[in-house]
Symmetry: C2
Subunit: 79 residues, 2 copies
């Protein structure tokens, strides 16, 4: 068994309304110094040792991210 983290983020050229809302709210709430916020998705998968990196890339690209507007990273972490 292994734990795998997939992070999915809007591509840099894609507007991120959710992140912009958070960024604009921060000064109103008394937090200064945060110049940008971008919001994406974070997945944690438990996978058998039979699942190789190529399969993980297919899962990330095909099921977890929308590759037209999102980029993704896969990494294995200590369980």
């Amino acid at each position: 068994m292994a734990r795998v983290v997939v992070d999915v983020m809007p591509k840099p050229e894609i507007l991120d309304p959710q992140g912009q809302v958070v960024a604009r709210a921060l000064p109103r709430l008394g937090f200064s110094g945060v110049t940008e916020v971008r919001q994406g998705k974070h997945f944690e998968l438990e996978v058998d040792d039979s699942v190789d990196d190529e399969t993980l890339a297919k899962i990330a690209e095909g099921l977890l991210a929308n590759p037209v507007i999102e980029q993704w990273t896969v990494r294995r972490v200590e369980a």
Copy 2:
């Protein structure tokens, strides 16, 4: 300037319907060996050097996560 990553996940005792939908879809799509999927949020913040870890914790706990049902982690990463 520093880049900060905040990951927000449903607490272990909280059901995660979105993650369960992904987990159930995988075998149908030909991917075996993934035993659990949990879905959360991933934030990337650009912050001034004046923003300390205590402030980042307040932002994560108060604005990015719902601490009743979610747990969060903050880490600084290389820009």
